[in-house]
């Protein structure tokens, strides 16, 4: 039974999560499967994907015990592996096709898997912990399925025109990052550059916010538009919350789900948009899955499952705080429960409060343990914030708006670039609207070059004793564009220069100028 037999359906994507510690006996193989997309694929086909994956994990461990299978490249498919937790694997199978531009950079796809897992852990804790809580597997399945489906459906990619959004999941087809996204880096934070004066204002705002809680272990994140202004969280927690904020909380994310009010009031049945129908489908699918697994005897979902990535569930309340009913309603009241998240750094559960004023979004994280009387306590904190910080918020917003250069703020004329600081998980890139002016050939060439760099980076990572990767590659492609990668001290710079002179010296000069002007000379040779 080959994969070809199952890939006849229109979409070329399979995505599964399985646990190697489960279903080790014959006849129990289905126990391994924690998630499978598409869910309506026959079990035999699902098991075939998982069987191959498991076989190759075992096989590659013979030679590479420290790092098992990462990718299978076949003529028409790529299988991307990610061991999210020990023995818990995420595998994505994508179809390759030149015609439909389905040419993938493996690392970019793996970053999607990592992002899904990180977000899941932030909201629900680790997969292993949930499996230990309920070894039957029903609990984890009932969480994973809606979560990932919401992610796939809802993860918005900015279009070239920036004001129209689309999902990974359009109809039945997944739109994953392709070579056209080679000047983007998933899994990084995009920052707003601000002046000294503004920085001081923002800092004092953050202090005021934290003082409102009266607890020292509270954290805050400040965003302007879809850019991070300040954070008091650790690097990884910042990334997760930033990702979530850009997906669901910023004005941009809220407006893309503008119909949310009417949707909520009128009820889901009247929703005319196409998304509604896929939503309905996904709602029933997990139940199907459990029933056929024989896990849940009743058709009612026995678990209360919060769906933090659910589309169009956040809106701005009258007081400026963002509200959602995702986490249900607190017992005995009509107040929506405040969302909670796990922080990796402190391993603590925190309430997530978001306040929005125009383009400014504040995210406040308060330890659940520090609020004794639940929602009542939270609303007290909210009041404090309104009282103490409103004015400061106003001022900061005004200041940042004045300094804001618009969507092309970080465009550098003549350059198409991506700058990544892998220590801080920060990236900056040419605006999407400018990247679309590049030819397909240039983008393909950079995507290929990035794939080479990815390999160099990963082998340098495995050489723990080895020095940090320091390299420079300048390629003049067939279409005469210069495609450049430069790595130094954990910083990465990728560039496409299309209308450049033919000499190598010209290209390196351009790189040098860019480095001196925008990167404090980090990429300069001397």
């Amino acid at each position: 039974m080959g994969l070809a037999s199952v890939s006849t359906s229109t979409e070329g994507v399979r995505f599964c999560i399985f646990d190697l510690r489960r279903g080790q006996h014959e006849g129990q193989e289905l126990d391994k499967i924690l998630f499978f997309f598409p869910a309506d694929l026959p079990f035999s086909a699902q098991l075939s994907v998982i069987g191959l994956s498991e076989g190759l994990i075992t096989f590659t461990r013979i030679f590479s015990p420290e790092a098992a299978c990462e990718v299978i490249e076949a003529e028409r498919h790529a299988h991307v592996f990610h061991e999210a937790e020990s023995d818990i694997w995420m595998v994505m199978v994508v179809e390759k096709s030149k015609e439909s531009e389905a040419m993938w950079r493996i690392d970019a796809l793996r970053k999607v898997l990592k992002e899904i897992h990180s977000l899941f852990v932030m909201f629900h804790g680790s997969i292993r912990a949930m499996l230990e809580k309920e070894p039957g597997g029903g609990l984890i399945r009932s969480h994973l399925y809606p979560f990932i489906m919401d992610y796939l459906r809802a993860c918005q990619k900015r279009s070239p025109l920036d004001n129209c959004c689309w999902d990974f999941l359009v109809g039945k087809k997944l739109h994953l990052p392709s070579f056209r996204d080679c000047l983007k880096e998933r899994g990084t934070v995009q920052m707003l550059t601000i002046g000294r004066e503004a920085a001081i204002e923002v800092q004092s705002l953050a202090r005021v916010l934290e003082s409102c809680v009266g607890s020292t272990s509270c954290y805050s994140l400040v965003l302007f538009q879809d850019l991070l202004v300040s954070t008091t969280l650790s690097r990884d927690d910042t990334l997760n919350l930033f990702t979530y904020a850009v997906l669901r909380l910023t004005p941009h994310a809220l407006s893309s789900g503008l119909s949310s009010w009417s949707y909520l009031r009128k009820g889901s049945s009247s929703s005319p948009v196409a998304a509604g129908s896929t939503l309905a489908r996904s709602d029933s699918s997990p139940e199907q899955l459990y029933r056929s697994h024989g896990i849940s005897p009743s058709s009612d979902n026995p678990y209360h499952v919060a769906r933090p990535l659910q589309h169009k569930k956040w809106c701005k309340g009258k007081d400026g705080f963002l509200i959602t009913d995702i986490w249900g309603v607190e017992d005995g009241s009509l107040i929506s429960a405040t969302p909670t998240v796990w922080l990796q750094q402190t391993e603590e559960r925190m309430y997530l409060c978001a306040y929005q004023y125009r383009s400014l979004t504040l995210v406040l994280l308060i330890p659940v343990s520090s609020i004794l009387n639940g929602e009542q306590g939270i609303s007290l904190v909210k009041q404090q914030v309104l009282q103490n910080a409103s004015l400061k918020v106003l001022k900061v917003e005004e200041k940042l708006s004045k300094g804001w250069g618009g969507e092309n703020a970080y465009h550098v004329s003549g350059y198409r670039y991506l700058l990544v600081d892998s220590y801080r998980n920060v990236s900056r890139a040419s605006p999407p609207g400018k990247v679309t002016t590049l030819t397909k050939e240039s983008l393909l060439a950079l995507s290929k070059l990035r794939e080479e760099v990815d390999l160099e980076k990963s082998s340098a990572r495995l050489d723990t004793a080895g020095p940090e990767k320091d390299m420079e590659v300048c390629i003049r492609a067939k279409n005469n564009a210069w495609v450049i990668a430069r790595l130094t001290r954990g910083e990465e710079l990728y560039m496409i220069l299309e209308k450049a002179n033919e000499t190598l010296l010209y290209a390196s000069d351009a790189l040098e100028k860019f480095s001196n002007r925008y990167c404090n000379g980090a990429f300069s040779l001397v």
């Binding site: 037999s5 076989g55 096989f59 030679f63 790092a67 080479e452 300048c474 492609a477």
Partner: protein, 573 residues
């Protein structure tokens, strides 16, 4: 004394055989009637010796092994140190254990390129199998197996002990069938697959060579197998899917291991071009003229080589002699000790020329390093080719070609230290080692000393120039600081990376590439006329490096008559 395999692998009735096999059969008869009685060479014939009674079933082996004549059995010559190491050598084991402790992985490839004395040909570590830790830690495995999962060849370990492992590889390939698995990546390891009809080839490597390089190495291994057996071996699988091919390749381990070793030091394996021995234009012309003479008398290809370098080459259809075929043929001849000891007439197949049919190669060593190969389609041309060889040998001796070739081997090729200072060489300037009037004091040693560790100008360490029109390349000699075999191998791997980066199938070839990392500055140009690869000190100045590259390409053009084979006749170019 039939092996059990031959019983389950009934061969077709001879009458219905394809022509090549018939040819081969007649060749056996012919060589049996040769003036020299056919005895079997230790390296090739041991396995076959016991199966003579199964002659009809084993014609292929016969054809191959019978080709070797007049070899004293079991007494390898003192010079052929390779023999001793063929079945496991304690000396090499020690080396590898040492390496194992250094970087955790065993690298058996560490032999300096041209001093093959430290590299022991033939299969080693036959006692290992997939359960041994040492086997698992080898840096680069190569496997050949049949589509039913039967092992055909393994670089390390006994094929028969690896039957289970082989079945696993087969399962992986067939599981993804419908699609075709190309590559599995796990940490530093790559598993590369190549399916050639009923024959599967797999490489498992942690050498960080790019996928494209490993794949083309598998292609070469497959080509080497075809060179020995032709593609008609596929028919055996059509008749019996469980056909066991190992006996057909019995004794040829040494050919494959030598090819695999060449992946580390021979740029021809990734450039798909051949290289020439530097010779004065007139000297090469003299050699070419006599070869041309012979080619006109019904010889398909006449090739005179010094180790892996071509002295001269002519043929009725020279254009169609692919550089890969030359590489595989030269490897076949050089790796088999038996060719060195007597004139031989052997069926061989040139996979790029015609993968289905055998040609016949008359091979004779004119001195320790120089050998003549005359290829023909006729299986009964032995005496004719022998006559040709005698004529050629006489002319070569008379015109001093052989002594010039020997001297050139000693002197070596282009050296980065010798790069002329002027951008345009002064008229009459010829680099010392190319010129006939070289003074005795101009020894390479003297040069290397005087440059003490800096390489050439502007930090130039090494270069390769490939002429696209000629299908030939010239590679500079290794100079300080690229001294050890480990450094040389690393440089070749860097070149391989550069090559595959430049020649991407989808979007390539690129025009220019500059690449700097902690080891080198690498520069590459691909133009319609040539490809140029150069390695510099990692701190080299970009502008100076570019200038230096331009000087090198001018230098190469200036001496091209001495380093390249320009054509069979003086006016053909």
């Amino acid at each position: 004394m039939l092996s059990s395999d031959s019983g389950e692998d009934p061969m077709p009735n001879p009458g219905s055989n394809p022509i090549p096999i018939e040819d081969q059969f007649s060749c056996i008869v012919m060589s049996d009637n040769c003036e020299a009685s056919a005895t079997r060479n230790g390296s090739l014939g041991n396995h076959v010796g016991g199966e003579i009674e199964g002659a009809e079933d084993k014609r292929r082996e016969w054809g191959r092994t019978n080709s070797v004549v007049e070899v004293e059995e079991g007494t390898p010559s003192p010079s052929s140190s390779g023999y001793a190491g063929e079945r496991g050598s304690s000396g090499s084991d020690e080396d590898e254990i040492q390496e194992l402790t250094i970087d955790g992985y065993v690298d058996a490839d560490g032999g300096p390129p041209d001093s093959q004395a430290t590299w022991l040909p033939g299969k080693r570590h036959v006692d290992e199998d997939d359960a041994s830790i040492s086997w698992r830690k080898r840096k680069k495995h190569f496997f050949m197996l049949s589509h039913s999962g039967k092992p055909i060849y393994s670089r390390y370990g006994d094929e028969h002990k690896l039957a289970g492992f082989s079945a696993t590889l087969q399962a992986i390939i067939s599981f993804v069938e419908g699609d075709r698995v190309k590559l599995v990546r796990a940490g530093k390891h790559q598993v590369v697959f190549l399916v050639k009809g009923p024959i599967y080839l797999v490489c498992i490597s942690c050498t960080e060579e790019p996928y494209e390089s490993l794949r083309s190495q598998l292609e070469l291994i497959y080509g080497q197998m075809l060179l020995i057996l032709t593609k008609s071996v596929n028919r055996c699988f059509e008749r019996n899917p469980k056909f066991d091919m190992t006996p057909l390749l019995g004794g040829t381990d040494i050919v494959f291991s030598s090819l695999i070793h060449s992946f580390n030091w021979n740029p021809a394996t990734f450039l798909h071009a051949y290289t020439c021995l530097p010779l004065a234009y007139a000297t090469r012309q003299a050699a070419g003229a006599i070869l041309q003479d012979v080619a006109d008398s019904g010889v398909l290809f006449a090739i005179l080589m010094c180790k892996h370098k071509v002295v001269s080459l002519v043929g009725a259809q020279k254009a169609s002699l692919h550089p890969d075929d030359m590489l595989l043929l030269a490897n076949f001849v050089m790796s088999s000790e038996s060719f060195k000891t007597s004139e031989s007439f052997s069926p061989i197949c040139l996979p790029r020329y015609n993968p289905m049919a055998f040609l016949y190669a008359y091979v004779h060593y004119l001195d320790v390093e120089t050998y003549l190969m005359l290829l023909t389609t006729s299986s009964d041309a032995f005496y004719h080719l022998k006559d040709c060889r005698i004529r050629i040998e006489m002319v070569l001796l008379k015109s001093n070609v052989l002594s010039e070739a020997q001297r050139s081997m000693l002197d070596g090729g282009m050296r980065v230290e010798d790069l002329p200072n002027d951008s345009v060489p002064r008229s009459g300037y010829v680099s010392p080692h190319m010129s006939h009037s070289r003074l005795p004091t101009d020894s390479p040693e003297r040069f290397r000393e005087s440059y003490g560790g800096t390489g050439g100008p502007a930090g130039l360490w090494h270069f390769i120039y490939r002429s696209i029109y000629l299908d030939q390349y010239v590679s500079s000699e290794f100079s300080s600081p690229i001294n050890s075999s480990r450094q040389q191998k690393r440089l070749y791997r860097a070149y391989q990376n550069l090559y595959s980066s430049m020649h991407d199938k989808g979007i390539g070839p690129h025009r220019t590439q500059f690449r700097r990392d902690e080891n080198y500055v690498l520069l590459c140009w691909v133009t319609p006329d040539f490809e140029f690869y150069a390695a510099f000190d990692p701190l080299a100045d970009k502008a100076l490096a570019i200038k230096t590259c331009n000087r090198v390409t001018e230098w190469v053009k200036y001496v091209e008559n001495e380093i390249f084979l320009q054509g069979a006749t003086p006016f053909s170019w």
